[in-house]
Subunit: 451 residues, 2 copies
């Protein structure tokens, strides 16, 4: 509607001005935070939380634009010197015709299951060769991530998705974790950030041997290759997210937790919370109306359609008695770490700390919320995002390369240099971080299998 | 030099004419092959081999251009509507200054090791929690692949690298194989296709627990998710490549084997063959001169610098007594399958066969030699390559999706459709191919670990 009144170009100009205004606001806000950091944070939490607030402010701004933008996109146009690939990459017709569900009937992720714990237990007993624990205190974990089956609108976006999955492959190989990379949309109604729900449910039910499912956004990277999740800490919990109790239960702050990286146990409770989480997701009127409710009910949430993260804050805050005892809001280490407050400190971390800490000193995960390298519109200058993503990638990659005697020439450089000579007794050489054969990767097989 | 004589533009025109000439030649050659297929192949092998010849003819042509082109590339230019990322993606200075090795001294991959079998055996005994066999007849395998740390010159190239690694992640997850994705150049002299040698040696020596290293090109995809490599067949061999004995040992045909997908056992013999393989690799005069020798000595090999595949043919053909007994040239299934003769038959395969065969009826690997989606110059029309890569990807992906009750709408479509309803007893539902919990993924742990 706005487009018809103002014209697309004017609308873009207005949006651009709004974004510039947001940047001005950002600078002012930063000034305030620095002052507060000097004077003291007071009852509003840490300067760290302020940054998160800021991030999410911009994050929501981005999401508004993202959702509006994605609805308009119907073709991918790529013109290259040698040929026009638009004939290959033209989007297929919209899948609106496939939503055959009666819109009046409530949305469900699938037929209700009430005895999943029993079904699963029986299956595990019948299948001892697919155990749900692969070592004492070491559950079988499936890390789930993914991206669109279409090439990125921004040509370098796919390159960053490639680096991101290599980064995850490296961490998961070291930690004995399997990966599922999704590029399929299972449920047209639950598109966008909600797509993870049908996917997660499907994987839990298909893989009873999986004890924990670890969802991780494609724009999140591992920056501590040595940190092992403290699985024992969660033995009485089913859902682990980075967040703060006060910000969720007391403030109903829409960024009180983050759903870009979380752990979900394979059990009946998890199926139940997925079922309770899903109803705000279906695209269209339901998601729009839910968005208005969330903006009204949550603290600081801007106006846009319902997202999975806000919905989870709302669910927990309003049904704490039902879910709270099995939810662990973890802030002792960066299961999710907002990139804005981490990436400029990498050199300081290298100087003062070491891998294995997982927290602000050496974050497990650096999450590039708001950057959106795959699309055309992000909340931050593209150059800032790409440069910092390179640095974060190299920061993590150095921990892999050191196993083999190499390191990046600098955090900005793709190139590597040798830092340890070759040896004719390679097995006498230990890598500094002990990552070649770490304890968290050891397995004890039945019988001696050295052949 | 040619550029100075003729001018860059004229040189490009000449190259373009040469490529067009190659296409004309291709058409003529195809005509001959079809006739021969009708009349009979005679003593020159099967029509299939003819296609391989053709493929490699174009492959070599591509490689000539590739090597010449890569030497010229110093900046990546990407101009997009919103910003100019050329400042980020400018190539770093050439690494010529880093080649400090005395060029007169023979090249080596590292200090000579002569007792690797003993070193490794001792380590395995001392580290029973890192066994080299993870089940009876199931060696621990590390699949190694990789790509350049730079964004592809062709913007969609990274998208196909992403799909390719997802494809490998899927196969390897099902088959209990770990992945190492390399994006670092360990040895500047061994750039290009030779880069795999220092990498492979480094990984073998760093990971004594790995029994077999499986090298796989980034342009090769798994198209049979159910096929398990017959490890037992190779219990007395150390090096498995797709190829034919006659074509290597009798004909010295430069495409008698393929080094795009091979298995290498972690043992002294393998270190020795890597040492013998490497000398033709160092970039510059050595590689150029070796290339001339290989063209002279091998059958049908065009003129270009030494490549690892030709070098291996030459090594085996001239030193059969030394290496031959431990090399298995496998043609019973497609450890490597030339895409040109496979991709148009996928529908026929679906109609008549099923996954698990691995051979011409349902190829384990479809290898897109000559396509080069990451660069600007391939041997085949880009559209043909990209369309067929999509089909091959979907052909393999369908076998993953069927586990979860979905399939691609067609081999050309990114979109998926449901083919099996959700159930409230998901564990009673078996996926058709039995890939959810296949035998080749089962492990027996010490003690019962169901918790």
């Amino acid at each position: 509607m706005l487009t018809r009144c103002l014209g697309a170009r004017r609308l873009r100009q207005i949006r651009r001005a709004f974004r510039h205004g947001a940047v001005t606001f950002l600078c002012l806000f930063l000034t305030v935070i620095v002052l507060r950091g000097t004077i003291g944070a007071g009852k509003f939490g840490t300067p760290q939380q302020d940054f998160d607030n800021l991030r999410h402010h911009l994050n929501s701004h981005r999401r508004v634009l993202e959702e509006q933008h994605s609805e308009k996109t119907t073709t991918t146009t790529n013109n290259y010197a040698t040929f026009d690939i638009s004939t290959i990459l033209v989007d297929e017709p919209s899948s609106k015709d496939e939503i055959t569900r009666d819109p009046k009937a409530p949305y469900t992720l699938g037929p209700r299951i009430t005895n999943w714990d029993q079904q699963r237990k029986r299956w595990l007993q019948q299948n001892p060769n697919f155990p749900n624990f692969i070592a004492p205190n070491k559950p079988r974990v499936l890390l789930v991530t993914g991206s669109s089956p279409k090439p990125c609108e921004n040509p370098v976006g796919d390159h960053y998705l490639l680096k991101s999955i290599k980064n995850k492959i490296d961490y998961c190989r070291l930690h004995g974790i399997e990966i599922f990379y999704n590029m399929a949309l299972f449920d047209a109604e639950m598109a966008g950030f909600w797509a993870k729900l049908p996917l997660i449910r499907k994987l839990l039910l298909s893989h009873p041997e999986v004890e924990f499912l670890w969802w991780m956004d494609s724009d999140a990277m591992f920056t501590d290759m040595a940190f092992e999740v403290p699985w024992e800490r969660y033995k009485d919990h089913n859902f682990v997210m980075h967040g703060w109790n006060e910000m969720v239960y007391d403030e109903k702050n829409w960024i009180g937790l983050n759903t870009g990286s979380f752990l979900l146990r394979n059990c009946q409770w998890s199926l139940d919370i997925l079922d309770s989480w899903a109803p705000m997701g279906p695209k269209g009127k339901v998601r729009d109306e839910a968005g208005k409710l969330l903006t009204r009910e949550l603290k600081n949430r801007p106006v846009f359609e319902a997202d999975d993260q806000s919905a989870m804050v709302y669910l927990l805050a309003t049904e704490r008695d039902k879910w709270g005892d099995k939810v662990y809001l973890e802030n002792g280490y960066y299961l999710h770490g907002y990139w804005g407050i981490l990436v400029d400190r990498y050199e300081e971390m290298i100087e003062n700390y070491h891998p294995g800490l997982g927290d602000h000193r050496w974050p497990l995960v650096t999450h590039f919320v708001g950057c959106k390298p795959c699309g055309k519109f992000g909340d931050y200058p593209v150059e800032r995002c790409l440069r910092q993503m390179d640095r974060a990638y190299n920061f993590g990659d150095n921990q892999i390369l050191q196993m083999y005697g190499f390191t990046h020439k600098s955090l900005a450089s793709k190139r590597v240099k040798r830092v340890r000579n070759e040896s004719s007794n390679p097995l006498d050489v230990k890598d500094e971080l002990g990552l070649l054969h770490p304890a968290f990767k050891a397995i004890r097989l039945s019988g001696m299998l050295i052949q």
